[in-house]
């Protein structure tokens, strides 16, 4: 079964990225990634740029609406995602708890949609 770990950061965590990537806390992320790979559960994942760099697009009544910033105006914002291959949601929650992002912000665990539906999307 595949699960998405969606990592939400607080503004303070996003600020960490401004320090030329020398913040020692980055070591925790590198270690976490390593543990996922060594455990053989890592499928894919990546980090996103800070929310201010986002642009949100909608099309309504044939008109384009473009808006600066992220989709949702909340304090905690999506900062990255990880896809894991795991036997159960219990295991996914365990990995979510180990995620450095869980200590300050939040990590949402959600199963990927069922194979049949995904094939419907991707053909």
């Amino acid at each position: 079964m595949q699960f998405a770990l969606m990592i939400y950061h607080t503004p303070e965590e996003f600020d960490m990225r401004k320090n030329d990537y020398t913040d020692p806390r980055l070591g925790a992320w590198r270690a976490y990634h390593k543990a996922l790979v060594e455990a053989g559960v890592y499928v894919a994942g990546d980090a996103l740029e800070v929310p201010e760099t986002g642009t949100t697009v909608r099309v309504r009544d044939g008109k384009r609406r473009v808006q600066d910033g992220p989709y949702a105006d909340t304090k905690e914002q999506l900062a990255g995602f990880i896809i894991l291959e795991l036997p159960s949601v219990d295991a996914a929650l365990e990995w979510a708890a180990r995620c450095p992002g869980a200590a300050l912000g939040a990590v949402e665990v959600r199963p990927l949609a069922k194979e049949a539906l995904r094939r419907g999307f991707t053909g």
Partner: protein, 417 residues
């Protein structure tokens, strides 16, 4: 004047409801379900009784015997429930039992003599036919009255899922014929061990060490200690029950020493013994020596003995690692769990040198430890001591990546350098 009286009256009765609920919950659930095996109904009836108490007691005053009052109210609720269900065949014996006993006037007697059936309840919760993962959650709910959401937090499970699993386990108890009884002599050690394991699982601290091993704080230490004390009260003189209690008390004694003023993680060997709690250590030692007097120490007594040697540092200023290795030797013979093997390796490193410790660690099957944080923490620590810097950094990364406690993660990041 009257208002003030009523005000404090109301406050008092709320507090009494809370206290009685805490002290009597398990006794009442056990007694109400011992014949029907229907835990869910017993819990529902008791919670109806508690709600009823919250409305009646402030107006009518707290009854002389609050527990008996709750029992009567819960019985009435159970009878109503059974009548509503109109379960003619299945419900009849239960109904007879309930109506028979509920006619006894228990409201005003000072000590209602209803038997304490909690021991049977504890054995039911940890019955081999029930998923071991559910032993502890069942105990916490039926004996202590913790709600599914709170239990879910502690066990890192979605609250809705925990609720469903608890319902399923209770259905199995009711319909699967799991008897409410104290196991026979020949199966007692094994069955008791399951009960002890379940209590210890609530405690959460797997292994208190020097290298920065992550202990998954279940935040239920108080509940676990309470359960162990209840169990000891119900089975006085059981050495392993005393061993478990001693082990948890030793760990609990160090709670405040485990964190610096800034929230920093402090490993056991660097803790200031002055921060340990002398009364808890004293209580632990008393239970342990009583248990040891019975001879043939079991797993929990040996684990407690290891913690006792650490506690001795408060007096002697040193750690007798040779003694710790000896206790681990015995422990490995009965319980070669991963945590024990890692603890043994760490102790050997102190007693006979880092190389010997690393060799002991490397004798563990690598597949078994790939996600086991304490293994990597000890390994990193030992490799660093041997000056094997790149290998140590690698092991530190694994330990950091598998850690859940942010303070432990920070500690390991600092050590990794």
């Amino acid at each position: 004047m009257i208002d003030t009286v009523n005000g404090s009256h109301q406050e008092d009765s709320h507090r009494v409801v809370e206290r009685v609920a805490r002290e009597s919950y398990g006794r009442l659930v056990a007694y109400l379900s011992v014949n029907t095996r229907d835990l869910a109904s017993a819990e529902d009836a008791l919670s109806n009784a508690l709600v009823s108490a919250l409305t009646h007691w402030p107006q009518e005053g707290v009854p002389q015997n609050p527990e008996a009052w709750l029992l009567t109210a819960a019985r009435h609720s159970l009878i109503d429930g059974i009548r509503h269900q109109q379960v003619v065949l299945a419900g009849e014996p239960a109904l007879k039992f309930l109506t028979k006993t509920s006619t006894e006037n228990t409201e005003n007697t000072l000590s209602p003599q209803f038997p304490d059936e909690r021991l049977k309840l504890l054995f039911v919760c940890a019955h081999p036919a029930i998923d071991p993962e559910m032993h502890t959650p069942l105990m916490l709910q039926t004996v202590l009255g913790l709600d599914a959401a709170r239990i879910a937090q502690a066990f890192l499970i979605a609250p809705k899922t925990m609720g469903q699993r608890l319902v399923r386990a209770k259905t199995k108890i009711r319909s699967g014929g799991i008897p409410f009884e104290i196991p026979q002599e020949h199966e007692l050690p094994e069955r008791l061990d399951a009960v002890l394991e379940a209590i210890y699982a609530a405690f959460g601290i797997g292994w208190d060490d020097m290298a920065g091993a992550d202990h998954r704080g279940r935040d239920l230490a108080e509940e676990a200690l309470w359960l162990a004390r209840v169990l000891l009260q119900l089975m006085p003189g059981q050495a392993e029950v005393q061993g478990l209690l001693a082990l948890m008390l030793h760990c609990e004694a160090r709670r405040s020493a485990r964190r610096g003023p800034d929230g920093r993680y402090i490993p056991l060997s660097e803790q200031d013994p002055k921060q340990w709690s002398p009364p808890l250590i004293e209580e632990a030692e008393r239970h342990l020596s009583e248990a040891f007097r019975q001879g043939g120490p079991g797993r929990f007594q040996l684990e407690a003995a290891i913690q006792s040697v650490h506690a001795e540092r408060a007096r002697s200023g040193r750690i007798d690692w040779a003694a710790i290795v000896l206790f681990y030797d015995q422990l490995l013979k009965i319980s070669p769990a991963l945590g024990t093997r890692c603890g043994y390796a760490a102790a050997v490193a102190e007693a006979s040198g880092t190389e010997a410790g690393l060799a002991a660690l490397e004798s563990i099957d690598p597949d078994a430890v790939s996600n086991y944080q304490p293994y990597w923490a000890v390994r990193a620590h030992l490799l660093q001591r041997l000056g094997k810097t790149p290998e140590a950094a690698d092991a530190y990364d694994r330990a950091i990546g598998l850690a859940e406690d942010p303070a432990v993660r920070e500690f390991l990041l600092r050590k990794r350098g």
